[in-house]
Amino acid sequence: MYGKGLKTLSIATVATLAAAACLVFFYAPSDADQGFVQKIFYLHVPLAIVALAGFVVAAVHAIRHLRTGDRRHDARSYVAIHLSIIFGTAVLVTGAIWAKASWGKWWVWDEPTLVSFLIVFLLYATYYPFRYAIEDSERQARYASVFAITAGAFVPLNFIAVRLAESLVHPRVFATAEGGMPGKMWLTFAVSIAGMALLWTTLVKFELTAKNASGQLKRLRRALDAPDAGTQSRIAPELS
């Protein structure tokens, strides 16, 4: 039952995101260097962390799929990648807006943080055409899992590369020599990241519930010998 607990999770998500918004605009102090523009940080960074963590979750489900052969893990991996790509799109757009406000440019090509995230994002963007190119559903699921594991290995590499790189303009706020963020900013950031993680989990659960309902409907149609509606997706894995 994928729908179990969805209502509670949705309420928790809305409450946490509302609390985060209140903290961002009424509690957290403005950054001494960047001023009010720094408020984008509480949206952009949690989105990036959750998107990258989502890719790792997809890789874990892909491993479980290859080990057990259970198609439900393939569906979970697929949905995790789907949501992380949506979050990744938001990361790129909000990052570009922040860059324009802070640096006067929408994009900086010699900045490793930006470029490495773009590489990971584009890598995952090829997941759909890759999956779509394979007709046989068994092979499709297996190859997609191999892809998710291989691409998932790039995510920690991305984190490490970013930390090792000599950044020119991208700010460092965690564990810096100056001591990083003050307590109020940390609290706001922690609530923001919790809200974003809850949102990601809720949407994953929501999509899996819809997929499960669709799969059960198809099974029922087959059992009743009813004519096929012909609306089933070719690429999306089914939970039947």
Binding site: V93, I97, A213, A229
Partner: protein
């Protein structure tokens, strides 16, 4: 670069938060349309099952399915329904 004044910075901050909100709303709208499709198909299927049940009651031929398959089909329907209840 020096910090932007509030009136100018506000536009960028609002833009970033609105973009995020729009993305989520678009996703939810797409999911809602998928759920509507599932609901429509479920209604069609319920109508199909009802039509077949009425056909059986009147001794009329079934809308689909070959002769001799009825008991087997019913068994499959029961099995799927039981599995769905168990989940």
């Amino acid at each position: 670069m020096p910090a932007l004044p509030l009136d100018e910075a506000g536009k960028y901050v609002a833009g970033a938060y609105v973009v995020f909100l729009v993305l989520i709303l678009v996703y939810v709208a797409i999911m809602a349309s998928k759920l509507q499709r599932i609901e429509r198909e479920l209604r069609e299927l319920a109508g199909f099952a009802e039509q077949r049940r009425r056909g059986e009651g009147e001794g009329a031929p079934r809308p689909r399915g070959a002769a001799g398959r009825d008991a087997e089909t019913e068994e499959r329907v029961d099995r799927v329904a039981e599995e769905m209840r168990a989940r």
